[in-house]
């Protein structure tokens, strides 16, 4: 094609819009988040009407439980996606970290805190290798993390010999997820952990150099290099940082289940990526927020949960989730197109 087909650029006769309207574009930039949030409310209203069992304390607790795992993974991968990368090794990486937590704590009898810390750091190691492959070996993120997905999935089975590792002799472990930090309030710790993690991630994304370079690399990598920033080093840092979230998710899911399930994780990567995209983060890089990702994770988990509550068969749940993702990305596309004109 010689002729521009997709862009609908208009001549900009005015070189500068009035500065008084600075606020408008900001709201526009956050539109996807508002849409996602609106969608979340709509989902809640529909399921509340459809079933009396949806808006109950116990169901909301289990809904939040499932948000925790998707949300933690999604927050990590938000950083990677803002750099215009992707991480497909989240799901199996999470399984591997869960298995490693079992190895450290159950098999090696390491103190609980040490074992948990090592498992989280193991996630960082996976991220480090991803980052190294992407930044230094110049393997496209899709391929590098696809390969890592296979490696992690395989290793999780090999190390655990394909059997779950149970934590039932380690009483403190499951309280990481299921305990109640605030006595008397039956809100699981996992939800608090997610909240704290989200706040930390948001601060890092918005207030630190790491965050600034995350946006910068995704928005224009070449310009970032020419500004004297060691982009390769920072990519490794960003992937490693994102990997820590995979490790944390691995700890939290196994704490909730009371066991490390070596084959559990695959599929989670796509749910997490979907949550990020629903939250308004662009797969082309440069744009995205943690708030959006958390809303996206809530949308994903409440949809899944609600569909289960109203007894939609598993097969149809997948179909509906797929359609929701398409709709979310399509609205984002429309928004981008409107922003152009």
């Amino acid at each position: 094609m010689t002729v521009p087909t997709t862009e609908t650029e208009k001549p900009t006769t005015e070189t500068e819009k009035p500065t008084g309207r600075v606020l408008a574009p900001r709201i526009k930039a956050r539109l996807q988040q508002f849409l996602a949030f609106g969608g979340l409310i709509v989902i809640f209203i529909i399921f509340t009407i459809a079933s009396p069992d949806f808006l109950t304390f116990s169901n909301l607790t289990s809904l939040l439980f499932s948000t925790v795992v998707i949300g933690t993974l999604a927050i990590g991968v938000t950083f990677v996606i803002i750099t215009a990368g992707i991480d497909l090794s989240l799901g199996t990486g999470m399984s591997l970290c869960a298995v490693m937590a079992g190895v450290f704590i159950v098999n090696w009898h390491l103190p609980l805190a040490v074992g948990v810390l090592l498992a989280v750091l193991f996630g960082g190691l996976i991220g480090f290798i991803n980052g190294f492959n992407v930044a230094f070996l110049k393997i496209p993120p899709f391929i590098a993390t696809l390969a890592m997905m296979l490696v992690c999935g395989g290793l999780a089975l090999v190390i655990s010999q394909s059997t779950p590792i149970y934590f039932d002799k380690i009483p403190g472990f499951s309280t990481i997820s299921t305990g109640n930090l605030i006595p008397g309030v039956k809100f699981p710790n996992a939800v608090f952990i997610l909240a704290v993690v989200a706040i930390i991630a948001a601060v890092i994304l918005n207030k630190t150099v790491l965050g600034r370079y995350t946006y910068s690399i995704g928005s224009n990598e070449e310009a970032t290099v020419l500004s004297g920033i060691n982009v390769r080093k920072w990519l490794v840092v960003i992937y490693t940082f994102a990997g820590l979230f995979t490790g944390l998710a691995g700890v939290m899911i196994s704490a909730r289940l009371g066991s490390a399930q070596p084959a559990l994780g695959s599929g989670y990567e796509l749910q997490a990526i979907a949550a990020v995209v629903i939250g308004g983060t662009s797969l082309f890089g440069g744009k995205g927020t943690i708030v959006g990702t958390v809303i996206g994770a809530l949308v994903m988990s409440s949809l899944t949960n609600g569909l289960q509550v109203v007894s939609v068969p598993q097969e149809w749940q997948n179909v509906i989730l797929g359609i929701v993702i398409l709709a979310a990305v399509y609205t984002d596309n429309i928004r981008m197109r409107e922003a152009k004109t």
Partner: protein, 532 residues
């Protein structure tokens, strides 16, 4: 004799298969603005990338900075040494704000360097922009700025380093006249007896106005350095191309009897164009002139179906055609050569033959889609020979060709397709002087062979020289269609500023033909659609 700020001695640079620079030596004195000229591919940008540490030079040469030998490893080190560069390509981060871009990599921090200090960032940026008299809100996102304003941000960024040497690689490509003036003031204020500027440009008038001396490169070799004041531009150009160029003014013939190949009646779009009517005759070049944003590119886009038209009839060879997308246009024999050929015209990482055959694969393939490689090769060889495309072989990747030869490949693609009507949108933008002449010759040869051409250009001399007739546009309307005899810069200017069409409602007085606007017409490059 002022001391030498920078001396480059015997620098060479090879890329696989190409020797980009051969034993080049130039020097820059303190307090000096040195122009650097050369055709595309002469090695100017490569040389500057060596100075700023983006490339590493081959063994053998030396770079002396203040008399000290330096070895620049990477852009950061160059910045530390006090060498900063404004690159030819767009090098800002669109999703960050102006201030964030200016201090990218040097962000002010607080809390033991853990957190960014955005308060300090914005006040520093505000102070800097104020000092440079650039009126841009530092909190705006770069993606929301026009190309010209983005360029000003790049300049502010380069100025924000306390640099001794400022390298500017074609900084004015996207600027209007008044912005160029602002830039020149900035550059002149930058120069003290401790600093110097290397200014790369294709625009001879700028070189003449701004620089003290001019160094010329040709094909990666140093040609010479001359004093700007005492050297006529003609001589500098001669040094660049290795021969003197005499722009031939061709006798403008008018094809009174030419049949209309393309007729456009009252073409309008929802957003912009209003009742655009014209016809294009066989073997004619119809120029489209107008100020920036007049709607020339929009006519082309509506014509080939990229933008949807709201009204209007398009006839080709007297028959009405319905064009709703570019494929329809191609089928009807209308080829559009975009102003941004790298983005819309070429598959840069494919070879010459693949590009030439791209629009005509139907012709070269059988019923189930297998491509007849031999036929595409043959056709490619033919185009390379007839257009005199300078390429080692038809297997050469297009991105390794010069701008002029890339443009020829785009032309060849449409000729392979047998298009009768070719729309050239800024065909010589970013092409050096020598290659421009070749493109002009080519356009004339094409019309001699019976092709009809619509020529959109911001360079009025180009339009006046090549066109048989000239359609002048203003604010989405065609205000006049002039014959070559009628068209003078003043008359074109008159109609380019004619805000309402002359009609029964009375003749609207155009703005006075002021020289400011005429100059804008001549060299406005921030043209419609040129925004990224």
């Amino acid at each position: 004799m002022p001391s030498k700020l920078l001396e480059i001695n015997g620098i060479s640079k090879s890329f696989p298969g190409v020797k980009a620079l051969k034993d080049v030596s130039i020097d820059l004195s303190s307090g000096e603005i040195l122009g650097l000229c050369g055709e595309n591919g002469a090695g100017k940008s490569t040389l500057m990338k060596l100075i700023t540490g983006i490339y590493k030079a081959d063994e053998g040469g030396v770079i002396l900075f203040d008399g000290q030998r330096i070895d620049v490893n990477g852009p950061r080190e160059a910045q530390h040494l006090g060498i900063s560069i404004i690159h030819q390509e767009f090098n800002l981060v669109p999703d960050l704000t102006v201030a964030q871009n200016i201090y990218l990599g040097r962000e002010p921090r607080k809390f033991r360097n853990l957190l960014l200090d955005d308060g300090a960032l914005y006040s520093q940026a505000k102070e800097l922009l104020g000092r440079l008299e650039i009126q841009i809100d530092p909190r705006r996102y770069v993606r929301d700025l026009s190309v010209a304003r983005q360029q000003m941000v790049e300049i502010a960024k380069a100025m924000s380093f306390d640099s001794r040497i400022l390298v500017m690689d074609e900084p004015t490509a996207a600027l209007t006249d008044s912005e160029v003036e602002t830039l020149f003031t900035l550059v002149r204020n930058f120069v003290t007896d401790q600093t110097g500027v290397i200014y790369i440009s294709h625009r001879m008038d700028e070189i003449k106005e701004l620089t003290d001396r001019v160094s010329v490169l040709r094909d990666g070799e140093y040609v010479g350095t001359v004093d700007t004041e005492s050297t006529p531009i003609r001589e500098v150009i001669a040094m660049m191309v290795g021969r003197e160029i005499t722009s031939s003014v061709r006798p403008k013939k008018q094809e009174e009897n030419g049949r209309a190949v393309l007729e456009v009646q009252e073409l309008s779009t929802h957003t912009f164009l209003k009742d655009v009517s014209f016809d294009l005759r066989e073997g004619e070049i119809l120029g489209f002139a107008g100020l920036m944003g007049a709607g020339r590119t929009e006519v082309a886009r509506a014509l080939v179906g990229v933008d949807h038209k709201s009204a209007g009839v398009i006839k080709i060879h007297g028959e009405e055609v319905s064009i709703s997308n570019p494929a329809d246009a191609v089928a009807a024999g209308v080829g559009y050569l975009s102003e941004d050929r790298k983005r819309y015209g070429l598959l840069l990482d494919q070879d010459v033959s693949a590009n030439l055959a791209l629009s005509s694969l139907g012709k070269f393939s059988n019923a189930i889609g297998f491509i007849n490689a031999r036929a595409t090769m043959k056709a490619a060889e033919r185009q390379v020979a007839s257009l005199r495309i300078k390429t080692p072989s038809i297997r050469q990747t297009v991105q390794n060709l010069s701008g002029g030869n890339q443009q020829k490949v785009v032309i060849g693609k449409w000729l392979t397709r047998d298009c009768d009507v070719l729309i050239f949108d800024e065909p010589t933008r970013g092409i050096d002087v020598g290659a421009k002449e070749e493109i002009y010759d080519l356009l004339e040869k094409l019309t001699a062979a019976g092709k009809s051409i619509i020529l959109i250009s911001s360079e009025l001399p180009e339009i006046l020289r090549l066109s048989n007739r000239i359609a002048v546009m203003c604010e989405g309307r065609v205000t006049s269609i002039l014959t070559a005899d009628e068209a003078t810069p003043e008359v074109v200017m008159h109609f380019a500023t004619l805000r309402q069409p002359e009609g029964p409602g009375g003749v609207a007085e155009p703005d006075l033909i002021d020289s400011e606007k005429a100059r804008k017409l001549n060299r406005n490059t921030e043209e419609d659609g040129g925004e990224r």
